[in-house]
Structures are given as C-alpha cells and as structure tokens.
Amino acid sequence: MSIWSNLGLVYALLGAAVAVFLAGAGSAIGVGIAGQAAAGVVTEDPSKFAKVLIMQLLPGTQGIYGLLVGFITLSKVGLLGGGAAELDPQTGLLILAACMPIGIVGLISGKYQGMTSAASIGIVAKKPDQFGKAMLFPAMVETYAILALLISILAVNAVQI
C-alpha cells in the first residue's frame, strides 16, 4: 500500500511532462505543416522569406506555453533548486489535472494553427501587402491556447502544497 501513498511527486512530474510534451508535439506538428507551405513559397520567391518565416513561427507558441507550465510546476514542487516537497497523491493529481488544459489544447490548437498558418502563407504568396490580415487568422486559433495556458497557470498556482 505504501507505494501508492508515495506517488504524489510522480503525479506532479507527470503533469509537467504532459504539459511539455503534448503542447510541444502540437507546436511541432503545426510548425511542420506551416514550414512545408513556407518552403514552397520561398522556392518561387526567396524575397518573401522573412514574411513566411514569421507565419511559420506562429504555431510555435503552444510549445512555449507548455514549457512555461512545466517550468512553473517544477518550481512549485521544488524540483528546481531546493529539495522536492513531500506531496500526497491527492495534491499530485491536482497538479496533474491543472496541467491538462495547456497540454491537450496545445496539441490540438497547435496542429490547427499550423494548418491555418499554411493557408495564410498562401495569402502572403499571392498578396504580400495583406500580411497584416493574413497574420490574424492563425492568431485567432491561438486565443484558445492562451485561455488554456491561463487556466493551467492559475490552477497550478492555486494548488496548496
């Protein structure tokens, strides 16, 4: 029985891992999709490199949000620097749950933001002067990642250790 009652820290770490790897994977997929479209544009017109690069980077933020939540979690449970805190399983699971939003939303929104970015790269390819508008479409998708990030940060911060 004792092993179950010692798993608190493991759950918390699992939370950090979920945040980082799901959101990171989402961004990787998104940046990958957008990158393919960007590379296509640059073969035709290398002068658009800077513009399409910015477009490609837009879905990259989810991974950063995941990293952020992961980092806050690690510092919360004391794995960075000082000794790890004693966590009971319930607290550990609370932290795991708190990390879920950015992980899952990051994964899904990262992919879809990538697809939107790829479409927006199409706008930039044909009408470079519409860059400002083109940038907005992927930013719309990102809103939900930001909302998830917010809830994850607030929840991780709110868990009492």
Partner: protein, 671 residues
Amino acid sequence: MAVLQMQRISICGLKKDRKAILEKIQTLGVMEMSQIAEDEEGFEKMDTVNARQTFEKRAQAADQALAVLDAYVPVKKSLLSSLEGKKLVSSDEIARAADEKQEIIRKANLLITKSKEIAEAKANIQKTENQIEALTPWLTLDVPMNYEGTKKTALFIGTVAAEVTPQMLYDRLAQAEPVPDGTDIQVVYSDKDMLCLTVLCLRKDAETVEEALRSCGFARPSQVITNTPARQKALYEAEIEKLNKGIKEAEDEIRGYADSRKDLELVSDYFRTRAEKYEVLGTLPQSQRTFVMSGYVPRRYVRALSKAIEEKYDCVFDIEDIKEDEEPPTLLSNNSFSSSVEGVLESYGLPHKGEFDPTTIMSFFYVFFFGMMLSDAAYGAIIAIACYVVLKKFPRMGEGMHKSLKMFMFCGVSTMVWGILFGGYFGNVVDIVSEVFFGKAVTVPALWFIPLNDPMRLLVYSLAFGVVHLFVGLGIKGYMELKDGKVLDFFCDVVLWFAFLIGLILMLLPTDIFASIAQTQIVFPPVLNTIAKALAIIGAVGLVLMSGRENKNPVLRIALGAYDIYNITGWLSDVLSYSRLLALGLATGVIASVVNQMGSMFGKGIVGVIGFALVFVVGHTLNLAINLLGAYVHTNRLQFVEFFGKFYEGGGKPFEPFKSDTKYVDIKEEN
C-alpha cells in the same frame, strides 16, 4: 489625427503646355489622377503606348546593365544596406544624365551584349567539355576515330554493353558463315557501363563481321572525328582556352564600365519617370487645342499647386469639394508619435470616406499593450536602442520601414517601463548571477509587483485595461453616430449598452466570485448597488425594446432585441481575450528565468562564466525574438479584432499621387 480633406482639382489648359504642366505635377507629387469628361464629344485620348513602351524598354536596358555590373563588379553591401534608401541627387545631375542618355543607353546595350557573349561562351565551353569527356575512353587509340582500315583489312571502332565480353563476340563470330578467320578484337577501355573495342578483320569478311557485331549491340561512336583521339582532345582544349580568354576579355571590359553605374541608375530612373508621364498623358482627354486634367489633391496642398500651375500657364484651375457620391482616396495625417502605427492601420484598412481615423487613440493603446506583453526592462532597452541607432544611421530609408522602426522604438520604451514596474531584467538574471557567482542573492525590487507571485492580481488589471479599451471603442462609435446626427442610433446602440455593461460590472464587483479572483472584497454602499441594478435593468430592457427598431412586427422586434442581449457573451469573450496580456507577459519572464537557470548549471569559476555567457546570449536572443513576434501579433489582434470590432470598418483606398516613382535615386526638390 485625421483623415486629410481632399478636393477635386480640374485643370483645363492649352495643349502646348500639357507636358510642362504634367511634369510640374509629377515633381510636386500631390495629385492623384482621376479623369473626368472622358466621354465628352470632341475630346479624344492620345495614344501614347508606343512612346511609353520605348521608354520602359530603355529603363529596362539600364536595369539589366546594372544587374550585369552587379554580377561582375559587385559592390560591397552590409547586412543593413537595404535600409539605406535611395540616394539623393540634384536635378542638375539628372538633367546631365538626360543629355547623355543616348551614350549611356549605348553603354548599357554594350554591357548586355558582353554579358550575353559570356553566357554563350560558357555554354560552348560546357559543350566542348562534354565532348572531351565522350572522347576520354578512346584516348589510348592511336588511329583516327573514323579510320576504316587498309586495302586488305577492315577496322571497326565502337562500343558494346558492359555485359558483352570479347569471348562472347569471338563465339558469335565463330558461328558466322563463312567463319571470318584472323579477326582480332582489342579492348580499348572498359567500365561498368560499356566496353570500347576495335575489331580488325580481312576486308573480304567485313560484311559478315559487321553483321555479327551488330547483333551483339555493337555501335559506332556518335561523333565523327577525323583525328586521333589524343589530337582531337588537344584541339578541344585549345578551343576552351580560346573561349576562356574571350570570357576574360569580356569580363575585363565590363569591369571597365564600373564607373557608369551611377549614370545607368540616373538614366533608368529618367526613363521610368518619363514612361509614367506618358502613361498619364495617355489618359488625358484632349481636344484639338486644349486638354483637361482632373484629380484629387489634399486641401493643404491646393494653394501650392495653384501657385505652381495657375500663375505660370494659361489655364483654368478649378477647385471643387468632393461630391456626395464620390469616394476619394484616403491620406492620414498624424503627429510624429501616432503616425508610427499608421502602417498597422493600413494593414487592416484605411478609414473610408467620412470615417473617424483611429490612429491616435490606437497608438497609445498599442504601445501600452505591447509593452505589457513583453514586459522586460532589458529587452525593451535593447529594442529601443537598436531601433534608435538604425533610425539615426539610415535617415533615408523607405517611409514604411521608418514608421515601423519608430513604432518598435516606442514599444521598446514601453516594454522597458513595464519591465521596471514588474521587476524583470532579462527575467531574473540579477538574482541568479548574484547567487551563483557572488554567493548572495540580490533582487531588484519590482516597482509595482511581480506578476508570477500574484498572477490573479495582474489578471484583474489586464481585464480592466481590456474593458477600458473596449469602452473607448464603443465611445468612438457613439461619437461617429452623433457626428452624423443619428441621435436615436447613438442612444440605442451606445448609451443603452454602456448602461447595461456598467450596471453588470458594478453588480459583479461586490460578489464573492470577484472577491475570490481579486482576493479583496469590495463593499459598495447600498445606494450604489441599487443604482447598479437599475442601470443593468434599464439597459437590458432598453436593448430588448430598441435593438430591433427597424422591424415593424412587434414580436420580431422583441425577439431581435433579445438576440442583441445575447451579444453580452461577445463582450465577455472580448474582455477575456485581454487575459493574453497576462499570459504573454508571464511567458517572457518565465522563459527568461529558464534560460538563466540553465546558464547557472555550469556552476562557479571560469567554465561557469563562459557557459553562462553562452547560454545567456543564445537563450535570450531566442526568447526576445519569439516573444517580440508574439507581442506584435497579439497587440495587432487586440486592436483589429476587439477594438476595431466595436466601431471601425476601414476599406478606404490609399492616396496614390502621380509622382516620380524612381527606383534608384530621389531627386532633390529645388525652389
């Protein structure tokens, strides 16, 4: 802070003055052409297509010649040279270039010819090299490639596939009828693809042998060469040598024209300007002795234009205000600070006719929000200083670039201020460095508070800033409706919404939900609570009754009103959207901390310092770049979606005056 008022200027003058007047207008560059009287009887347009094309062709020739010069005599350019902008030249210089235009264009054509010669020679060299390569397997052969034997013997030179061995050929020959005795097969060369052979036989057996060979896939070389391979190779090499020498001479000649670069640029722009002039000339309605020209001029330039045209030429100079049904082009005029965000507004769309120019109001919010999202004093300082230096160093850069850099400079300053308020200097670099290298943690205190320690507090502030931003947007809508005299619309769409929203907010503030978020309980006096309820109810009832006012059917009208109330969810999501101010601000700080933490893992000592410096530079550069992008994108979004969504339509077309649209040089104005 405004859209410049346009006026329609029409000039009716004598045909003999038309080019002089056009030239004057082109130099002033304040008039956008928009012709009237095009279909009037007695007026015809002149066909200028040929003249224009000639000029364009010459401008292109000069451009091509410049490209040739760039390829063979490259000018050293720094990374930032694209910011330098166009050179400034006096009108004397361009006049001199115009005088020598024939000579300069001749040079341009010569340069193009030389470059074509070089390209041709290079292609020939490539071709010859291929021939040498085809010859290489045969180099050991000491008879000419087309040698066919002596009087009594026949010689076959050719290749077979690599799978065919000489033994197989002998076997095949042995089956021939009659058997060609004394046939000799020699392998000249073999590799994995082919076998090069000479086959010697008696003249009388020639036909039999040839047939046998052919059945084994024997093929003669494709080139007919009358020399021995070695000699032919030497000939080819001499040819390449000659071509190379020609290339070198041509290149030297091209280099000799390096000084003509400036002349070519001047002449290219001269012809480009003339082509544009002829393009406009072709759109002017002209009668036998007169012409009419019409277009939009910003009111503030009308006097200058009239002085330059009306007083010098015999013409009628007519000034009209814009008519109701006309849609004039839009030109913004703002102070130095606000004009820096004009580029952002342009990317959404300029205000259409009669619409309010939101640039000034937007500029303050823009800089404010941008700083809040990046919120690191050191990053802000870097951005502000970098932009300032570039702006000072390249005063002649393009206008759009100049505005953007200025905008980022202001945003950098704002970022610095927010960083000081939140205590962020490269994240927490002061703490980490002092702790790791000096053993004692020193913290630079935040002037306000540290967001990571109290995120709920910053969230409340973020949403509050959002409410202010949105209310300003709604206020502008009200202002525009009042200006147009739509008092009822103003009351129903703006005042009622304000009452409803303010009532709801005042009701929300004293509740437990808000207290748990803000961590302070706000207690209002009971009177205020009553007022809040009253406002909310008045607003809600008013909206239900009034929103569907265009509809006669009372049931439908109420239903539409109720649907309009549903827009409150839109307001909620708009306000929540401002939580990105908190989220992105935290992201910058936390990632900067991660970088510092990683850097400190090397420990103390020399290795530690070097390791830290390395991680510090790379990490913070990346963090700055990605968060700068994030702050830019999301500040734009807050303006475009949340703020503009409340009142702004855009869709005006930009003012594009007829001017000298040069590529290389700017011509200095002379008075």
